[in-house]
């Protein structure tokens, strides 16, 4: 009586076919990237060594290591974070805790979407026009980092807003009922419950900032500088630009070298992303509500 009819069998077959098709598409989407990662490791792996990481480039960047570029990227990311995290967290606090549902809030949200969507080279043009020329920072770490900061601001805002909104409204209401002010509630209840989510967003921003090339090309990153930057008014080398330079602009670079640089850069970015994702999952598992 409950035997599957012809129609049922056919339907089940069709369903399995569709599932298979979509699975294949998903795999085809991910597979090329895994293959590419494999090639990067295979070709760039052998050149990696402590020396490669901690010595200067030599012989017109055809030998030696990547130390100044590595240090430069750390400078650029650190200064960019100092500028964007406070602004981004403030913006997220406003949007999540204070903003009424009006046209201004909608415009702010639209501005955030657009900041994230403007091409990186247009951010670079803005950096040149505003920071290098108008504010007279010159081509410097300061100009490059501020450009990066504005470009990656949406990452901090979106991640922070999400973790603030994940704090249950009942927590806030309980606090208000005790007579606490808005800021006291935020300071003692909302922020402590969302700080780790905010950190996740910051790590994500670090990884995003470290990989950017176009915004720093004309604002503060140099093709080749044999010394390390001393202050934010110096220019600096950077990992991402270094990869571009030695793979397109410099003749006679041994093949393994750009692969090595690409491998170091991609490892930095992926490791930080993985940490951020793992952290987020750990937090989700730990949540008491």
């Amino acid at each position: 009586m409950f035997e599957a009819s012809q129609l049922n069998i056919r339907n089940r077959k069709v369903e399995r076919l569709w599932g298979l098709l979509f699975l294949v598409m998903t795999i085809l989407l991910i597979l090329p990237v895994l293959v590419i990662l494999g090639v990067l490791i295979y070709k760039g792996g052998p050149i990696l060594s402590i020396d490669f990481l901690f010595t200067e480039p030599k012989d017109g960047m055809t030998a030696g290591g990547i130390f100044p570029a590595l240090v430069g990227t750390v400078w650029l990311v650190a200064v960019a974070l100092l500028a964007s995290v406070p602004v981004g967290v403030a913006a997220a606090l406003y949007l999540s805790e204070y903003a009424p549902d009006n046209w201004l809030t909608r415009v702010i949200n639209l501005a955030i979407i657009n900041l994230a969507g403007v091409p990186s080279i247009v951010h670079a043009l803005f950096g040149v026009g505003a920071f290098v020329l108008f504010f007279r920072f010159g081509t410097s770490i300061l100009a490059a980092s501020l450009t990066l900061a504005i470009m990656t601001l949406p990452v901090v805002i979106v991640a922070t807003r999400e973790s603030l909104q994940a704090v249950p409204q009942a927590f806030r209401e309980a606090c208000w009922n005790m007579g606490a002010s808005r800021w006291q509630t935020i300071r003692h209840v909302v922020l402590p419950n969302s700080i780790s989510g905010i950190l996740t967003g910051v790590i994500l921003e670090v990884s995003r900032t470290a990989g950017e090339t176009a915004p720093i090309m004309f604002t503060g990153a140099a093709f080749f500088l044999p010394f390390l930057p001393q202050s934010v008014y110096d220019q600096t080398m950077a990992m991402s630009l270094h990869l571009f330079v030695i793979s397109t602009q410099v003749p006679g670079v041994p093949e393994a070298m750009p692969f090595g640089v690409a491998l170091v850069l991609i490892s930095m970015v992926l490791v930080m992303n993985a940490v951020s994702i793992a952290f987020r999952m750990y937090l989700r598992g730990k949540k008491k509500w």
Binding site: R12, V14, W18, G19, L21, L23, M25, T26, L28, L29, I30, P32, V33, I36, P86, V89, A91, A92, L95, I108, L110, I113, N114, G117, V118, P119, S120, I121, V122, A124, L125, F126, V128, G129, A130, L133, I150, P154, R182, I186, G211, E212, T213, A214, M217, F218, S240, L241, L243, F244, S247, T248, P258, A262, I266, V269, L270, N273, I277, M281
Partner: protein, 287 residues
């Protein structure tokens, strides 16, 4: 204290608006003298001759650059849209539990690979591969850049499309299943139509991403000014032109200002794309 904090976070919130207006003002400030002076609309949109460095008769036709950007982005979307939507449907509707989590994490990691690394992959892996497979003299062309760009845009489109599918209430699915619909009927007749706007927005944002991508296109497209007639032609994109030439121009020269004018053009187009995507998404919420 309360008042001070409120003002402070308000300033933070409004800063996003200040920055986006600031971007427009500053690139316009640098580009305007060219726009009001040397700029010729007809030449810009119809002439394929971008020769800003010619000594006697510099020309500023952006048609070939627009065609370069359009061909690369078009091919990228042809590759990425079906696969992203397919992957989003698989992750959102078919996969369960651990598989689903793992796939989502993988897709997120893919989105994190820096564009200069993608460009390098186009240059060092795709280039020889295309030369060998298709027996063509140059492997840096529309095909290479389009494929790379497709791989770059796919994770973003997948994530946004999956979000759109997830936003369809489960009650829709349950109602359809209760009527005896099979899983694929539920997906194609109920879930996808309900998530249509979100899916369109995902594609739009993917297009915006492809349009604005700089380093990967600069390195993988061959960088020669060309109206492409086949996918094996080298092209030059709008973004790549700015990246390649800005370093060689004198501040304040016509050439320098012309590059900022390209920037204004790019800004306006991505602005329109993002605005449209936002309006489309808002469309579903209203309903």
């Amino acid at each position: 204290m309360d008042k001070a904090v409120q003002v402070l976070v308000f300033v933070g919130g409004v800063s996003a608006i200040v920055f986006i207006i600031g971007i427009f003002v500053f690139i316009t400030k640098e580009g305007l003298p060219f726009l009001l002076g040397r700029f010729d609309v007809a030449e810009f949109f119809t002439s394929p001759r971008w020769r800003p460095t010619s000594e006697h008769n510099p020309t500023y036709g952006a048609l070939a650059l627009i065609a370069g950007t359009a061909s690369v982005t078009g091919l990228a979307m042809l590759v990425a849209v079906p696969f992203s939507l397919g992957a989003a449907i698989y992750i959102g509707e078919f996969a369960t539990g651990k598989t689903r989590e793992a796939l989502k994490v993988l897709v997120e990691l893919l989105a994190a690979i820096p564009s200069v690394v993608w460009g390098f992959i186009g240059l060092s892996i795709m280039n020889p591969l295309i030369i060998k497979t298709f027996n063509v003299p140059v492997g840096l062309n529309v095909l290479n850049a389009g494929f790379i760009l497709g791989l770059m845009a796919a994770p973003i489109m997948t994530t946004i499309a999956e979000d759109a599918l997830k936003a369809v209430p489960d009650t829709y699915r349950e109602a359809a299943e209760a009527m005896g619909a099979t899983r694929w009927q539920v997906i194609f007749r109920v879930v996808i139509p309900a998530a249509k706007n979100g899916l369109v927005a995902a594609v739009l944002l993917g297009v915006g991403r492809g349009f604005g991508e700089t380093m990967a296109v600069l390195m993988a497209s061959g960088h020669s000014i060309n109206l492409p007639t086949s996918i094996f032609d080298s092209v030059r994109a709008l973004t790549a032109t700015i990246a390649a030439e800005l370093g060689e121009t004198a501040v304040g020269s016509d050439h320098y200002r012309a590059l900022f004018t390209l920037g204004i053009f790019l800004f306006l187009i991505t602005f329109i794309i993002n605005l449209t995507a936002d309006l489309v998404v808002r469309g579903i919420r209203k309903k």
